[in-house]
Amino acid sequence: MSDEDKRLDEETGQYTTGHSYDGIEELNTPLPRWWLWTFYATIVWGIGYTVAYPAWPMISGATAGVLGYSSRAEVAEDIVAHEAKNASLVDELVAADIAALDPASDLHRYAVARGASVFRAQCSQCHGSGAAGAVGYPNLLDNAWLWGGTVDEIAYTVEHGIRNETADARYSEMPAFGEILTREEIAALVSHVQALPNGGAGGEAETLYLDNCVACHGDNGEGMQELGAPNIADAIWLYGGDAAAITQTITNARFGVMPAWGQRLSDADVRAVSLYVHALGGGE
């Protein structure tokens, strides 16, 4: 582009820019000057932005920016702010008699919502994100409870756990009857247990049951929550209800362990997650 190439185009009355491609010339329609200044201003703004905020990539990480902003810190602040906002609810929750909490109250609603997030973070690994459990890990949705399904019992289980090393953990131990009974006797017991919903198998099998099992599992297999002894007459089997699974249970016994979450969770979280589990559909 040189000034010599610029000329006045008579057809339009406009000057050309001097650009010419195969004889096609470009007309100069001047842009408004404020547009140019706006353009410069956005450049200045853009540079200022990279100075103010994290931007330039360096060897390890990026420049921090003079404002010291980071999205991680912002999240942390948000969490702190949220916790401050919920502080009074948390205090209320810790002080409340959770067994008597009105399910329609705001505090209950808050606790269940908080409990849901605690559950997903801490409990879902064993009990499943939908709380449906798995073989060896109880389903928390149904109405069968090994150690009791009231809010207070659930809270105790959460806080102290089951068969762990802590002093207050729920504890019981089923003997491995493989060391006590013969295979035939165990097979007879299995047939009796499977027949329990219909009154049992009778005869020698029933005698064996009364001699060995009734202390914990009860006359009719109804179990005993004080000892964590399951109801073996209902439709729910933690380790499976077919003959093979029951045979293995009687022969080798089972020893399910749950950590004492009171050591890791706050009082409020223990109470919240207990209320959440209680409200999943099986709460007593």
Binding site: D3, K6, Y15, P30, W34, G128, D142, A235, I236, G281
Partner: protein, 515 residues
Amino acid sequence: MSETSEPLYAAREPVFPRRVSGRFRTLKWGILIVTLGIYYLTPWLRWDRGPNLPDQAVLVDLAGRRFYFFWIEIWPHEFYFVAGLLIMAGLGLFLFTSALGRVWCGYTCPQTVWTDLFILVERWIEGDRNARIRLHKAKWDAHKLRLRLTKWATWLLISVATGGAWVFYFADAPTLLRDLVTLAAHPVAYSTIAILTATTFIFGGLMREQVCIYMCPWPRIQGAMMDPDTLTVGYRGWRGEPRAKGKRRREMSAEAERIAAEQAEKGRGRAAYRSTPYPGIDGFDLPETPVVETSGPGDCIDCMACVNVCPMGIDIRNGQQMECITCALCIDACDEVMEKIGKERGLIDYLALSDEPRERAGAKPRPIWQHVLRPRTMLYTALWSLIGVVLVYALFVRPEIDLTVAPVRNPTFVTLADGSIRNTYDIRLRNKHGDDRPFGLSVKGHPAFRIELEGTVFQTVDVNANETKLQRVYVIVPPSADPATADVTGLRFWVEDLTNGERAYKDSTFNGREG
């Protein structure tokens, strides 16, 4: 700047529109008063909705996620109403532009309305066109400073009122006004007012036509909306040209008489002139149009009235231009002049470009309805009306009771101790009323279905006023019942508003053991 070039960037050429009066100016004043009135006053209208609900007729409650418009209340899940209105606004714009050109730009665009208001203020304070040009050229002295400060202060007041009115749409207006005055309002309110004050002042006072020419996309889009049948502001070049005034006009008249006399002897005669350039339209961009009968100078006396009143600073006689917002003020200005010199009005007028050949040939233009009624506008009208009817229909059949049912699929079913099969559903119930309401829940589909609600032994859900409640609902069937053994069984949840007996339902499914 050398002689053969211009700089690539140019300063704004100030425009000093002259005062004009006429039917379009009157219409525009009316539209200005109505539109500004609606904008400034709407937030102050009250509308009683009963307790617990705001009494502002038009309110965008962002925090509460509600939009109130008189008797209509829109919840976030009903946002399709807003989408529908936006589509209607778009189609309406297409319709009006294809039929009447850029009427939106010329009459109702906020940029045009506020610029009009700002120019009015400018004229009151600094005088009409000539006085303003003199003031513009004058050295800065006390007089100029006083006038400028007065003008700027008035503009600023209007701008603050404009920005201020905006925020009243988002909060209870009287409360917010009190908070604003006592400096107790939220910082966002002040910053919003500040930003809108600045844009109003700058766009309406300082930039004006620059906004339309360089910032607005609409002038570019309009080309696709208009066709030769569109009625738009234009100059009847075939009537006005060759333009001339004063001595030159007299000479031309004399020359024409002489030629006419000459031709009268010979029997025939024609003179030629260049057509008004309408680029891209067949037949209008020929360098020379066929000759027509003429008797000396055209009707245009080149008085520049049309140019002097133009807020965009253009000359309508140059043909259709992107800069023209069709504000029609040049029509008023020209009509005034035509009346004074005893010529027919309408040298500059609303016209359809497709009429040019007819008018050149001396025929009357086709009637307006023939231009307006064409497939394109009818299609736009049909689409616009269709969406409008659908929206109104949707508004009136909107259920009073609003519920959603989300079956819990993790797990799909739960076996209870006695072998019963239980499915769980998350039901959300919306209470759109201003008072707390109980809703009764029931389930139909199979006699074995039994419904239970989490947290209560009753089958009613109390939902607080203007809130949504999530209720966990269980459907249980005995172990041997069909739904327990089948794969999937359909069911229907019924909800009854126990206050007025209204009912609504939602269908869902029940998963059995086979599932």
